[in-house]
Each structure stands twice: as structure tokens, then as C-alpha cells.
Amino acid sequence: MAITLTVNRKHYAVSVDPEKPLLWILREDLRLPGTKFGCGAGLCGACTVLLDGQAVRSCQTPLSAVGAAKVTTIEDIRSVPAGKHVVEAWIDLDVPQCGYCQAGQIMSATWLLGQTPDPQDADIDAAMSGNICRCSTYLRIRKAIKQAAAATQADKAA
């Protein structure tokens, strides 16, 4: 039986096992490979997506748990106001090295800015410590989040 799913403002009907994790539905069934497989256990954050704006680990989220929630992935993160600024700061500061974790980092950073418009270092540590960067691009991640926060604030002020 087909289950309806809303991803990146589009509706999809998928006929798969409801226990199949959202990560693999995105990658295999919807052909949205930007969300990455890292650990399969919710330990690395590479598979982070937004579910109704909330950062979740898609490898730990079975289809049955998604329901009517709206899924946003890296492919459409620019549609979220803070997400656009996060992506731009990521490019400006050239944050990625290998780049594999960065979709997850960007999702968590976008969620952080939605919660905490002017994050301090402790806020960044708390929100981002679930996202591993094996290349250790953490110094630029921290800087980019602050830059994106400033740009998002400036948008609101304008």
C-alpha cells in the first residue's frame, strides 16, 4: 500500500515497508542522495534532516514515524530562511574538506538558528556535537554558524 510523504514541498507516494528508515527512502526511492549514511545508529549526524523544522536522524526514523510531517533535506534547505544563510556562509568560508558530513552539519546549524538566533559557543557545542566531521572542519563550522546568524538577523531587521 502506498504511503504519502511530503519531502521538500513535494508529495510522493511510496510503496515500501513502513519500517524502512527515512534515510534509505530518501536515497533509494526518492533519489535524493544529499542525505548521507554514516553510522546507521544515530551517532554521527550525517543523515540529519528537518522534520517539521526539527533536526532528526533519518537513519533512526522509520517511514511509519514520519506521518504527515514535512521533510526538508539538503536539496531544499535554501527554502528555509536561516538555511539559505547557512549555505552561503558555508560557501563563503569554504567549510568542507571531504564534504561528506556537511549536509548533516548544515541541517543541524539551520535548526539551531531557528531555535537560537544569536548562538554562543556553548549553544553551538550543544546543537552541533551530534554531527561528526571526520576532517575536523569544526573551526570553520563554528565561524560559519556565527556568520549565518548575523546574516539571518540582518534579514529580519531589514
Binding site: 533519489r31 571531504c98 566531521c133 573551526l139
Partner: protein, 730 residues
């Protein structure tokens, strides 16, 4: 025929007009080793499109080290185009065309620095020659910039694209006669350039091996023998095959057991998740008997026992170490050790293959596709030329993907399913438990000081894996280990243990461990000598000179070492004072020369009352030659290397083995550095020296580990001689 003649005869450039009036240059250059002997050829590929945009081929695997940006920068510089005009295309893997294509040893910069520039300069010369002929002027009356040729006297100018038809007919110049730009004219080299893939990465574009997507593709998970070198005795796949979506179960050989034996079962399904689920239903009887006795506890026991005896073989004997120690005013002895480590690339090992009509096509996130081609051809019994290898972007290398097991594995699965593309993916547990580990090691060291505090004798008993003159991969120790080339009396000996684990190169291989051992021990020696570590090293280095070449290792230049050490002292305002009490706050120093790069680093660390280590700041000073080609990336590589090194020290990274099998399975057991444990600041400074540029992917890593261990000593008085570092409460 001398070496130079051999090189010029094997070098050529061809230009051809493509459909749509694009101009393609294929520049083939013979590559010379440092001693001038030809070692291979390299082809650079440049295409000038009718709109005057330029496509440059990137030939080396991109693992995050920035090579896909850096090598084309060299061509673009000498071709004299604006970086904004340039688009980069990843080439296929084919060493017959492109020369060395590996991402390892920080070699891409030294190997390509001249040839890539010569390629760009030769292509530029043909365009200039075409313009000169058209305008009836001498080539040296013309200048170029931004992809245009200009004649100042007449005010004429032409785009490279408009000169394409004429340039295609110009006889190619001899490479030796094509002048390269003087440094003062560089407009790309030495300027900060963002990674060429950065915009695609943050868009979520399918760049990585694991993102490969082909029509009709199926997915494979692997049930691999949990114990290395164990093989399948028997298996029952009926329950797994009965799962909806499962297509086949294929026994394969991972390349680490004898041919004919099988040590893994590939479960192929219409979804990787389904394949992984069905895997639990396989019934496999493994033959593990010969491997079960290997364990971490066993290695430790054997190592300690070895250290109490004499080494089994010599690495270096120089002077008379016994006499040197007997005559010493002071001696210092200590034992150091470090564990096996996994690479834990964030993109799990994976590979996609399609076997069709006796041709195998692979989409491989490989750091060493040439080696992979050979091993796959050998395993399948097909000609190496019948393989087509696409290089994908790589989600972290760190040396793991210098090995080709995933290519060998997917090749066998693909052959069992001809015409179907198969994407094989390791689970995280597979990835951590089937790595090629940085080998553990144990050292028993003694140094002797004379009355002036100079090191007169040094001995090390190194317990490692393999056999005399046949260490397992990355388990060797160099006879050039500092300060062996300088101190008059040296004995480096080794004892050898056996392991069933596969070992391999981890970023800054051997150096990542040796730096910890030797620079920590030298800090102990410096303390005995009544000086700080930089003073002891500078005193030991002596006058500026080049130490003798040994084997293929890069030569050690004591003057370059001195400069980075002095600059690091200035940069960090190092005062050299030893603490008079333990405050929990300390500063440490480390220096190391590896991968042709000289790095001196200072760490400020705080140890809490409960023994928690926090790194407050790191200062890095490096010398990687005359130019830092892309400073934006070089800074980032140094910072990443430093934090990577700290991860080996402070978050408990180690691989343990029980009953022959690796214990750790995921990032809970084998932790990776997270943002809340990373230092808030890593300050990087490069000093330049008049030598050709060298790589930056590795040499900044080794010195940070001893610098931290030395900082912890300064903070607490605890001398930590075992990795990962574990402090007691203070």
C-alpha cells in the same frame, strides 16, 4: 641516451579541434624522479570552449585534501586564464594516460608542481604562436591574461577561443624551451581559492562514490568473516533468499585469504536496507580456529616480555651505544606504546560495479585506482585494460582507500550478476571491523647525556608486527628517525609479533606514532638536561646543513627545521620556562619532519581536577617550500590535521581485539572528535624556503600529539607514555 633526453623524447603536446570549435590540448610529459630518471608519464588535459571558458581535467582522487582545486590552479596559472573562466572535470582513472593518480604520501604537490605548470605554459605558447602568425608579429611582442592574447603596439587582441583553429595547427613547442612565469607574475598560485566542489557539496549533489546511481541498479551488503583470515566452511542462505527483494547471495573472496577460499557473502537486494536486514538470516559456519588466539591482551603481554630481552633484529647500529651510555653523565629510560587505530572515514567503504560483455566498469572512491585495477584484474582473471574506472569524490580517505578490497569485492559480485549494476556498501560495523589498521607498537628507549647536556647515545627497542626486514604494512621504523642521523651512538632494534589483522597506512603513517614516542621522550631528555624541548632540538640540530640521503626518504635540512622551531617559539611567545608547580594549565612543544614538511607546534592545555583534558589553543608553524599554492586550503588542512592528531590522543581512540575479532563497532566504541572537544583556536603560519613546494595533507599531524602530552606533563607532572592519553585525577 641520458635521462634528460629520455624525458624530452617521451614528452609531447597535441592540440586538436573538437566538434563545435572547442580546442583540446593533450599535454604529455615525462615525469622525472628527484634524481632525474624518468618514472612515468603524465597527461594534462585542457579544453578551450568557443565561449572562451576553459575546462581543465583533474586527474587525482579528491579525498578532501583539495587536490581537485590545486592541480588545475597550476595549469590555469601558466595558461594565463582567469580562475573564474575555469571549470574542472574529474578524469577517469588510467595511469597509462594520466601518470600517478594516487592520493597518498602528500605526493601530488611535489610530483606535479613543474609538469602541470609546463603543460599550461606549453598550451599558452601555442596560442601565442597562432596569434603572432596571424598578426605578423613576433611571439615575444605579445602578452596574455584572462584568456586573451594582446599586442600592445597595435592594440590588437584575440580570445584564446578565437585562436583555436590556428593554434591546433601550430607545431608544438619543446617543453624545455617554454618559459615559466616568474613568481612575481603569479595571479593564481599563492592566492586563496575555494574548493571547486564546495557549491555542489552544500547543494547535496551526488558527488560521492556512495551516491552512484545507475538504471536498474541493485544493492549489496556483506557478511564478512568477523575474524581476519577466517574463511567460510559452509553456509545456508535459504532464509535470506526468501526475503522479499533479495536477489542473490554470492560468496566472494575479500583479497586477504588465499584464492579459491571465500571469506564473505554478498547479499544482493533491491534495497541496501533489505540486503542488510536479510543478512541476519544467513547461517554461516566459519573456519576461525587458526585465528582465535590473536588478542590485544596477548600482544601486550608478548610486547612487555620482548622489551625485557634483547631485540631480535637491528634497524640501525651506529657508533657504540653501550660505551656511549656507560660514559654518560645522565641517562633517561622510558617505555612508550600506542594502539591499533581504524580510519573511520565518514563515508563507509563502498563501490559500484557493472560487468557487461567481459568488460568491468567500476565507480570507485579509491585513493589508489592503479593498485585496485591490478588486484581486480588478478582476482577475476581478466586483462587490466578491460576495466574502466570512474573516480568519484571521496568522503574521507586518511589512507583507508589506498587499499582496494571494496573494488575486489564488488567486482566479484558484479560478475555474478552480469548486466546489473551493483552498489556494495559496508555498514559502519563492517567498516570499523574490517579496516586496514594503523599497527600498534611498543618502544623501550634509553638516552645518555654528556656533561654539557648533549645527547651522546640513544637506543630504542621497538616491538612491532611482521618479521625482520618484513614488517607488516605501516609497522616499520626508519633508520633516519630524528635524532639518529646526528647523535654519534645509536642502536635501534626491533622485535616482531604476529597478528591476523590487516594493517595499513593512516594519515602520516608511522610518523603519527613515532612523533609521539620520540618527541615526548626528548622532552624527558630535555628536562634531564635542564632545558626546554626546542632548546634541546636546536642544540642537537647544530649548524644548518642537509643530512645524508638514506633510501627514498626526503632529505632532512637542519636549517629548515631550525627556522620553523624558532618561528613557533616567536608565534606562541614560548618562554621556555619549566613550571615550578602543577597548576593544571600547561604548555607543550613538538617538532616533526614528515612527508617533506617541517612542522613545529605548541599546545596549551588544561587538565581538570577530575583529569579531563581540554586543549585551549594550538600554534602551528610549517615549512612546505617556496609557495603555499592555495593558502585557504593549506590553513584548513593544517587545522584538520592537528585536530585529527588530538583525536588520537584525547578521546580514547583504540582498536581492541578479542578471540581474533575486532571489538569496536561504531562511533560509541571508536569515538571521533566532536565540536565540543575540538580546540577553539588553531593558529597556522607558514614560513617559505627556496625549495619546491610539498604536500600539506599530512605533515602537520604528527607533532601535535607529543606537544599535547608534553603540555599535560607541564600542567600536572604526569608523564603520559601510552596512547590514548589517560590522566589521573589531579
Amino acid at each position: 641516451m641520458n635521462a634528460a633526453d629520455a624525458i624530452s623524447r617521451r614528452s609531447f603536446l597535441s592540440a586538436s579541434l573538437l566538434a563545435g570549435a572547442a580546442l583540446a590540448f593533450h599535454v604529455r610529459l615525462a615525469l622525472a624522479a628527484e634524481n632525474g630518471a624518468p618514472v612515468g608519464t603524465l597527461t594534462a588535459f585542457v579544453r578551450i570552449n568557443p565561449d572562451n571558458s576553459v575546462v581543465i581535467g583533474a586527474k587525482n582522487p579528491e579525498i578532501g585534501q583539495g587536490v581537485k582545486t590545486m592541480l588545475p590552479m597550476l595549469i590555469a596559472e601558466e595558461l594565463d586564464v582567469d580562475w573564474e573562466q575555469v571549470r574542472i572535470e574529474q578524469t577517469l582513472a588510467d595511469d597509462k594516460i594520466y601518470g600517478p593518480q594516487s592520493a597518498g604520501g602528500s605526493r601530488a604537490t611535489p610530483v606535479n608542481w613543474l609538469p602541470m605548470r609546463q603543460a599550461g605554459a606549453a598550451a599558452r605558447a601555442m596560442l601565442v604562436s597562432a596569434a603572432a602568425t596571424q598578426w605578423g608579429v613576433k611571439p615575444d611582442a605579445l602578452i596574455t591574461s584572462g584568456g586573451m592574447v594582446r599586442h600592445a603596439a597595435s592594440g590588437r587582441s584575440a580570445s584564446y577561443a578565437s585562436l583555436a583553429p590556428a593554434a591546433a595547427a601550430v607545431p608544438p613547442p619543446a617543453f624545455e624551451t617554454v618559459p615559466l612565469k616568474p613568481d612575481s607574475a603569479f595571479r593564481i598560485i599563492g592566492t586563496p581559492r575555494r574548493g571547486v566542489d564546495t557549491p555542489a557539496i552544500v547543494r547535496g549533489a551526488p558527488l560521492f562514490g556512495i551516491d552512484t546511481d545507475l538504471p536498474n541498479m541493485v544493492y549489496a551488503a556483506l557478511e564478512t568473516c568477523p575474524v581476519f583470515q577466517g574463511v567460510i566452511k559452509s553456509h545456508d542462505d535459504a532464509a535470506a533468499l526468501a526475503v522479499k527483494g533479495v536477489i542473490a547471495v554470492v560468496p566472494i573472496n575479500s583479497g586477504i585469504v588465499p584464492k579459491g577460499q571465500k571469506d564473505a557473502l554478498a547479499i544482493v537486494a533491491d534495497s541496501w536496507w533489505t540486503a542488510q536486514k536479510a543478512r541476519a538470516l544467513l547461517k554461516v559456519e566459519w573456519d576461525l580456529a587458526a585465528q582465535r588466539h590473536f588478542s590485544t591482551a596477548g600482544y601486550e603481554k608478548a610486547a612487555v616480555s620482548s622489551l625485557s630481552g634483547a631485540p631480535q633484529s637491528d634497524i640501525l647500529r651506529k657508533g657504540d651505544v653501550a660505551a656511549g651510555l656507560a660514559g654518560a653523565v645522565k641517562t633517561v629510560s622510558a617505555r612508550y606504546d600506542y594502539p591499533f587505530l581504524a580510519h573511520a572515514t565518514l563515508e563507509p567503504q563502498n563501490c559500484t560495479g557493472l560487468f557487461d560483455q567481459d568488460r568491468l566498469t567500476l565507480w570507485a572512491p579509491s585513493q589508489a585506482p592503479t593498485g585496485g585495477r591490478k588486484q581486480v584484474a588478478d582476482m577475476l582473471g581478466i586483462a587490466p585494460e578491460s576495466l574502466i574506472i570512474h573516480l568519484t569524490r571521496i568522503g574521507g580517505g586518511f589512507g583507508r582507500r589506498l587499499m582496494s578490497d571494496y573494488m575486489v569485492q564488488v567486482a566479484q559480485i558484479a560478475r555474478a550478476l552480469p548486466g546489473r549494476p551493483v552498489k556494495m556498501i559496508y555498514s559502519r560495523a563492517d567498516d570499523i571491523r574490517h579496516d586496514f589498521y594503523r599497527p600498534a607498537g611498543w618502544h623501550g628507549l634509553t638516552a645518555g647525556l654528556d656533561k654539557d647536556g648533549a645527547i651522546v647515545a640513544l637506543k630504542d627497542h621497538f616491538v612491532t608486527f611482521g618479521a625482520p626486514d618484513a614488517p607488516v604494512r605501516a609497522a616499520e621504523m626508519e633508520a633516519t628517525e630524528f635524532p639518529a642521523q646526528i647523535v654519534p651512538n645509536i642502536h635501534f632494534g626491533a622485535s616482531w609479533l604476529q597478528t591476523n589483522l590487516s594493517t595499513g597506512w593512516l594519515r602520516a603513517p608511522t610518523s603519527n606514532a613515532m612523533a609521539f614516542v620520540f618527541q615526548s621522550f626528548l622532552d624527558e631528555v630535555a628536562l634531564a638536561a635542564g632545558v626546554d624541548l626546542p632548546t634541546l632540538i636546536l642544540r642537537t640540530l647544530g649548524e644548518d646543513r642537509l643530512l645524508p640521503q638514506v633510501g627514498r626518504a626526503p632529505q632532512f635540512n637542519t636549517g629548515r627545521a631550525r627556522k620553523v622551531i624558532e618561528e613557533a617559539r616567536r608565534f606562541a611567545a614560548w618562554d621556555g620556562k619549566r613550571p615550578d608547580r602543577w597548576t593544571g594549565i600547561g604548555r607543550g612543544f613538538g617538532f616533526y619532519f614528515s612527508h617533506a614538511g617541517y612542522f613545529a607546534e605548541v599546545v596549551d592545555a588544561t587538565v581538570s581536577k577530575s583529569g579531563q583534558i581540554k586543549v585551549d589553543k594550538v600554534w602551528v608553524v610549517g615549512d612546505i617550500g617556496s609557495h603555499v599554492i592555495n593558502p585557504l586550503n593549506a590553513e584548513h588542512q593544517a587545522q584538520g590535521s592537528v585536530i585529527d592528531g588530538l583525536a588520537q590522543a584525547i578521546i580514547g581512540q583504540k582498536i581492541d581485539q578479542v578471540d581474533g575479532a575486532v571489538v569496536q563497532e561504531n562511533f560509541d566504541g571508536f569515538p571521533l572528535m566532536r565540536i565540543d572537544s575540538a580546540p577553539p583556536e588553531v593558529a597556522v603560519r607558514f614560513v617559505t624556503s627556496p625549495y619546491p613546494p610539498t604536500g600539506i595533507g599530512e605533515p602537520a599531524l604528527p607533532p601535535v600529539i607529543p606537544a599535547l602530552a608534553n603540555a599535560i606533563y607541564a600542567a600536572t607532572g604526569q608523564r603520559l607514555r601510552s596512547l590514548p592519553l589517560r590522566t589521573a585525577a589531579v
